[in-house]
């Protein structure tokens, strides 16, 4: 995956992580992951809850030692150079961990101080990032008074105090309303344009399609697929999907006839999904075959189709 002359930022080979939980049982959260992330790339880890995304992110963030395999970040080994690597990383955790007793500006200032910068530099950086987070009016407000979206923006701004080479984002927009998500995507896109390498986990497919150049789908601690969003759709789904909805009870009769009309047909409790390269043609065939659905929809395949195909439709946690 690494192109000539492009600097490798993160390289993992056979990366594993096991925990001993209470009762003496060992949980294998990550079972052997190979990834390569290059400078300037936006790389995504997709997967259902419990797939091992966050555990992988913590190993990359040098806050969780690996159990096995090789891991190099910015050319260094986290086991021996954790402090030096963390000095160059920005970390946005899944749960905000801002200091709620401090103001927006103080949070940024204090966090910059943890990196050892002089006071004047930290003050200037805090002022700059208050702007970046669009929190100028709230700069002197305590964090406990901010909305969820504002806190998330502040957490992302805080991760930038050291002008990181890599920004690690663990589910950056989970729990936010659509407006807040779009504002965040805009900020992240700007960062990517300015050359920051982004590594994020998400289980929102639209987020992955919006932000990621390349991604891996994780399931059960392993990588199930890897590629760009378009490559993954081409490889694991078809170009288009025809969704047929039936009046309750009438679907079963149509299932056999429909199965012959598409490369793959998925049977859901309330509808049939026909995976095809030409949706309109398939829909015409459906009508010709005498199948009379309640409603029919032709749409493009999305990463969500890939995701569900690779990780299944049943709940995992």
């Amino acid at each position: 995956m690494t192109a000539e002359g492009v600097e490798t930022i993160i390289a993992a080979r056979g990366l594993t992580k096991s925990f001993r939980v209470k009762g003496g049982e060992t949980v294998h959260a990550v079972r052997g992951v190979d990834v390569t992330v290059c400078r300037g790339e936006a790389f995504g880890f997709l997967g259902p809850n419990g797939a091992g995304k966050s555990t992988t992110m913590r190993m990359v963030a040098c806050t969780s030692p690996r159990t096995g395999g090789e891991l190099t970040i910015l050319g260094r080994d986290p086991d021996t150079d954790g402090v030096a690597i963390r000095d160059r990383l920005g970390v946005v955790p899944q749960q905000d961990n801002l200091d709620e007793d401090l103001t927006v500006r103080e949070n940024l200032y204090i966090y910059a101080r943890y990196f050892g910068y002089p006071r004047a530099y930290c003050r200037a950086k805090a002022a700059e990032l208050v702007e970046f987070a669009q929190l100028t009016d709230k700069a002197e407000a305590r964090v406990s008074q901010l909305s969820g979206g504002m806190q998330r923006r502040l957490t992302i701004a805080r991760a930038l105090v050291n002008d990181p080479d890599v920004l690690l984002l663990d589910e950056p927009t989970t729990g936010l309303d659509p407006q807040a998500r779009h504002v965040l995507w805009d900020r992240l896109f700007r960062l990517k344009q300015s050359g920051v390498t982004l590594v994020l986990t998400t289980h929102y497919m639209d987020e992955a399609e919006q932000l990621c150049d390349r991604l891996v789908v994780m399931d059960g601690g392993l990588i199930a697929a890897e590629g760009s969003p378009a490559e993954l759709i081409a490889q694991y789904s078809t170009r288009e999907v025809v969704e047929l909805r039936f009046t309750p009870g009438e679907q079963a009769a149509a299932e056999d006839a429909a199965a012959a009309l598409a490369a793959r047909v998925e049977v859901l409790p309330d509808r049939l999904l026909l995976y095809t390269d030409d949706g309109d043609e398939t829909l015409a065939a459906v009508t010709a075959a005498g199948i009379a659905p309640l409603s029919a929809l032709v749409r493009r395949s999305t990463l969500e189709d890939v995701f569900l195909r690779l990780t299944g439709r049943s709940l995992v946690d």
Partner: protein, 247 residues
């Protein structure tokens, strides 16, 4: 640790008001009763002068407990700020060091204020009585570092565990560590329990600083016990911080 700033005024009132109340109630109220029976058992000191060093040590222990227990645990579990801090070049060990430094500083400030109140009441002993301040900080932190280690270890049952420590650790230690009466008054069977109490070592040292009366080797022994307890607890706390925050 600017976090503490909003609580500065209430902390100040508590630091001065608390001791004043204790001294008035125990010293002047109960002390009048005790002194009527003569103060030979107290080494000749008035009751209020006898308990003053112990009140200082007990107050330091109380503050150490609250800072090392719920306040620290909260930064790990509820507010999660320590996870943010250790995502930077700051290591869990440095975070543990910072906790010990911050809490010790806070204890020193409180102990200085307490000492000034004792001075006003005329029960701070001679010039060497000023040594009660570092002694109180040391004996409180000798316990505090172990509570820090506990805070980095426990998870869901924090409130239960901390209440147990308070009820079966801090409170009995305060009552039976020669704070309000010499341990010679205790039945001989339970006297060795007082020897185990870090607060007893602190009380003996603080009382010696204010009123004198201990031989040099006993001073050395008390100091050695407190220092050993502190150093061992500090090492364990640093280790527990790493296991919790970087596992």
């Amino acid at each position: 640790m600017r976090q503490w700033r909003p609580y500065f005024v209430s902390g100040l009132v508590e630091a001065v008001g608390g001791p004043a109340l204790y001294l008035l109630a125990l010293g002047l109220g109960m002390g009048t009763l005790v002194n009527r029976n003569g103060s030979a058992a107290l080494g000749g000191a008035s009751y209020v002068a006898y308990i003053a060093p112990a009140l200082l040590c007990a107050a330091a222990l109380q503050i150490a407990f609250s800072e090392c227990s719920f306040a620290t645990f909260g930064r790990i579990k509820w507010r999660r700020t320590l996870w943010g801090i250790t995502a930077t070049p700051i290591t869990p060990e440095i975070a543990a060091d910072a906790h010990v430094m911050f809490i010790s500083t806070r204890l020193t400030l409180s102990a200085v204020l307490y000492y000034l109140v004792l001075l006003v009441f005329g029960v701070a002993g001679g010039p060497a009585g000023v040594l009660m301040i570092p002694i109180a900080v040391l004996s409180a932190m000798a316990v505090g570092v172990w509570i820090l280690a506990l805070s980095a270890t426990i998870d869901d049952d924090a409130a239960v565990v901390f209440n147990l420590v308070m009820r079966f650790g801090i409170v009995p230690a305060t009552l039976f560590s020669a704070s309000f009466f010499p341990i010679e008054q205790l039945p001989w069977v339970i006297r060795p329990l007082a020897w185990l109490s870090p607060l007893w070592h602190g009380n003996e040292l603080a009382r010696d600083a204010a009123l004198g009366g201990l031989s040099a080797w006993r001073v050395a022994l008390h100091l050695a016990v407190l220092l050993a307890l502190f150093v061992a607890g500090f090492v364990v706390a640093r280790h527990r911080f790493r296991s919790r925050l970087a596992s």
